[in-house]
Structure formats: structure tokens, C-alpha cells
């Protein structure tokens, strides 16, 4: 008798970390229940499933919780072997992808969050840093695909693609709220930008990204909160 494969995702609509998991489940075609959490009033389920960090995303598979977006992505890839494989078979290629995934996660994305939460000189400094990291990322993308990047479709999305969409997918909303461009499609990031545009055309991605105005609202809220508490 087939075991029931019950999957639920606890998330917050504006969280890029949640977006990663949401995209992964959709790309694999895994049916799941989505539970929107109010982060100012966390559900007792969330606290039970993630007692250490009390954060989203939490993936619950047959009652067992998994946390940390990158850990969840690898878990999904290993557990559901249908659909696109997020990590390649070859251990060296896997290492390259994991290296760049960690780079986007820590070096790029976490600095982008800082840019949102700061202004003045501190912000300027971080904007420069992100620009340098994006240059490195562009070289990294070239090194992973020395023969050129294959055309993207829903069967061949990988871990890095999921990170690219979740990090940069709402770039227009980010630009509107910050009043500055983070990705430069001409000088710094032509490959990254063209990959992003191709990903944004995918049916799954179109269905997964929240509407522009909602993202702008959430980003503005986060920025206000951060700047207010910084000046206290």
C-alpha cells in the first residue's frame, strides 16, 4: 500500500527563503499545502517544528520538519527524483554548484538585505560590495558552464536557478524601493541578467512570484522598520 506523501510548507509570502522552497516544490510538481505564517504572531505549529530558529521556511514531510532553505532544497532533490535534478550527478559539478549557491546565499543575498536596511554611507559601502560580488558571480557562472549556458526550460532548472529567481526575481520592486539598480545587465551581470530574464518567462516562476505592488509594500515596511530601530 502506497504511503501517503503529505507535504506542507510554512512560509511568509515576501520571504525569498520561502520562495526558494516554493519554487523547488513547484518545479518538481509536488503537491503541498501552503501555510502562511504571521511572523509577529507565530503559530504553535511553527514553534514546534522549528524550535531552534522559530523561522520560515519549514517543510513538513509526513509530519517531519526540515528547516534551512538550502538544506530543504537538497532534501527535496534527494527525496523526489522525478522532474529536474537540482544538483548534477558528478561530485565535482555538485561541489561547484554548492560553492556558488553558498556564495549567492551569504555573500550576495545577505548583503542585499543590508542594503535594504541601511542608508547613507553604510548603504553605499554595501552597494559597492554587492557589485563586486556580482562580478565574481558572473565569472562563476562562466566557469560552471564553460561551453555556454544551456537554454532554460522547466526540465533543467537547477539549484542556482532557484537561488537566482528567489534573490533577483523581484528586482523591479527592489529598484523601486531603493531608488537604485542592483543588477547591471550591461557591464557587471550580462549572463546573470539574461539567465534571470529567461527564468522569469517560465510558467512555474510566473505563477510563484507575488505581485509587484505586494513586494514593494513588504520591502518598504522592512526598510522603514530597520531604519527606525537603527535611529533609536
Amino acid at each position: 500500500m502506497a504511503e501517503e506523501n503529505k507535504v506542507s510548507l510554512h512560509g511568509f509570502f515576501a520571504s525569498p527563503y520561502v520562495r526558494r522552497v516554493d519554487l523547488a516544490l513547484k518545479f518538481k510538481g509536488i503537491p503541498y499545502e501552503y501555510v502562511e505564517e504571521d511572523l509577529k504572531n507565530k503559530s504553535s505549529l511553527l514553534l514546534k517544528y522549528n524550535p531552534v530558529h522559530k523561522k520560515v521556511p519549514v517543510l513538513v514531510h509526513n509530519g517531519k520538519p526540515i528547516v534551512e532553505s538550502l538544506v530543504i532544497l537538497e532534501y527535496i532533490d534527494e527525496t523526489w527524483k522525478n522532474g529536474p535534478r537540482f544538483l548534477p550527478e558528478d561530485p565535482y559539478k555538485r561541489a561547484q554548484i554548492r560553492f556558488w549557491a553558498s556564495f549567492v546565499h551569504q555573500q550576495v543575498f545577505e548583503n542585499m538585505v543590508l542594503i535594504l536596511k541601511t542608508d547613507g554611507e553604510a548603504q553605499e559601502k554595501t552597494v559597492k560590495e554587492v557589485s563586486e560580488k556580482l562580478s565574481l558571480l558572473e565569472e562563476g557562472i562562466k566557469s560552471i558552464f564553460p561551453e555556454g549556458i544551456p537554454i532554460i526550460n522547466q526540465e533543467n532548472v537547477g539549484l542556482l536557478d532557484i537561488l537566482i529567481v528567489s534573490t533577483f526575481g523581484s528586482y523591479k520592486a527592489q529598484e523601486e524601493v531603493l531608488g537604485l539598480k542592483l543588477i547591471d545587465p550591461e557591464k557587471t551581470s550580462p549572463l546573470l541578467f539574461s539567465r534571470l530574464k529567461a527564468l522569469l518567462e517560465l510558467h512555474v516562476v510566473k505563477g510563484a512570484l507575488p505581485p509587484h505592488e505586494k513586494v514593494v509594500g513588504a520591502l518598504k515596511f522592512m526598510r522603514q522598520n530597520a531604519l527606525n530601530s537603527a535611529s533609536v
Binding site: 514531510h61 528547516v67 534527494e78 565535482y92 555538485r94 554548492r98 553558498s102 565574481l136 562563476g140
Partner: protein, 223 residues
């Protein structure tokens, strides 16, 4: 036989993670000491992004970032597995490895804390962190990996030697039986394993290195 090289730096716990994994798997390798104050062309070529050690070079191809290297070693040399077979258990292991990786800042603060100027916040945070490790990650197991050590033990291995050195410098002991008896026992058991015991930097030299680092208020380039 495939050629394996490890670019490392003798006081770095990140170097040792890779050494322990290679030794546990019985992989022969050539160790190359890098001078981080005078980085070699080789290091800059193999790790242009971060310019840091450790870097594992296998068949001429470099891999950087200790945790990425550990997963590579596990996948390339499957003997003596260091991660559970079950994907859920593996996800738990990876969670705990990540939990350790995120706590860099509080340990840096503790490193700079001195007897004259104790960083109470860092001390409090580390005490909480150790408690979480004991209660939620280790529990009643001998090792994080169960009866035998795995990647989680390797990731936290630095606590049993490098952190002890930091405690001695700061004059504050936190990894103690009165507050975290099981974790303290884990540290003792881990350190007594022959493969670990035979592969640790000299403690006295390490303390001297820590002292000189603190005077310069710069960290060393490793992750």
C-alpha cells in the same frame, strides 16, 4: 592513483576538518602549507573568489569552502560513510552543520574578549548555543553521528581544541560538565579518537598564535 592535495594553514580548524575527513576515509593526500600573510600564486589560482584555505585539489581541480569540500569527500570516497543514508537524517545533519557555520560572529567576539574586558553578551550567547547543541543536536548520543563520528562531529570538532584555547585566553570556561555535561563528554570522547588525537595542531603553539592574532586584531583567512 588520483592525485589529491590539500592547501591548508596549520592553526586553522577549517583545514583540520578536511584532514580528519580524508584520514577517516583512508584517502592519501599531499598537504601543502600556505602562508596566509604571503599568499602563493597557487592559492590565488585555486581559490580566486575567496583567496582562502582550505582548498582541496583533486586531479588538478580545486574545491574551496570546508563544508563544500566535506560533502565532496563524502560523495567521492563512499567508504566509511560520514552522513546518514536516510535523506531525512541527512537533512538533520546538514541543519546542524549549518547551525554551527552561522555562529561565527559570537565566537569572534568571544575571541576578542579579555579577562580585563569580558564580553558578557558573547559569553551569554555562547552558553545558550552550547546548551542547544547538547540538548537538541547531541542528546544522549555519544557522538553527533551516533555511535561513530560523522560530518557533524567534524564540523564541531574545533570546540574540543581551538575553543578550549580561546577559553584559556579569555579566562572563561563554558564547555564544562556543570552546564553541558553531555557535550563536555562528547568533546573528551572526540579528542581521544586516535585519528583526531594524531591530527591536531600543537596546543602551546596554537595559544601563542591566538595571542599574536589578538594583538593584531585581525583574523586569519579561512572558512
Amino acid at each position: 592513483m588520483e592525485e589529491v592535495q590539500l592547501l591548508g594553514f596549520w592553526p586553522s580548524p577549517y583545514s583540520y576538518r578536511v584532514i580528519w575527513a580524508l584520514k577517516l576515509k583512508g584517502v592519501k593526500y599531499e598537504y601543502i602549507e600556505e602562508d596566509l600573510r604571503n599568499k602563493s600564486d597557487r592559492l590565488l589560482q585555486y581559490n580566486p573568489v575567496h583567496k582562502k584555505i582550505p582548498v582541496l585539489v583533486h586531479g588538478g581541480k580545486p574545491i574551496a569552502e570546508s563544508l563544500v569540500i566535506l560533502e565532496y569527500i563524502e560523495e567521492t570516497w563512499p567508504q566509511n560513510p560520514l552522513l546518514p543514508k536516510d535523506s531525512y537524517e541527512r537533512a538533520l545533519a546538514r541543519f546542524w552543520i549549518k547551525f554551527g557555520a552561522d555562529k561565527g560572529p559570537i565566537f569572534s567576539a568571544f575571541f576578542r574578549s579579555t579577562k580585563e574586558e569580558l564580553d558578557q553578551n558573547a559569553i551569554k550567547e555562547i552558553a545558550e548555543y552550547l546548551k542547544i547543541l547538547e540538548e537538541q543536536a547531541l542528546g544522549d548520543k555519544k557522538f553527533f553521528g551516533g555511535d561513530n563520528i560523522g560530518l557533524v562531529d567534524i564540523a564541531y570538532g574545533w570546540l574540543c581544541h581551538w575553543f578550549i584555547g580561546m577559553e584559556e585566553m579569555g579566562g572563561v570556561k563554558l564547555l564544562v560538565p556543570s552546564t553541558v555535561p553531555r557535550l563536555h563528554a562528547w568533546a573528551e570522547n572526540f579528542k581521544q579518537l586516535p585519528i583526531i588525537q594524531e591530527n591536531l595542531p600543537d596546543y602551546t603553539k596554537l595559544l601563542a598564535h591566538f595571542k599574536s592574532l589578538r594583538e593584531k586584531t585581525t583574523g586569519y583567512d579561512a572558512r
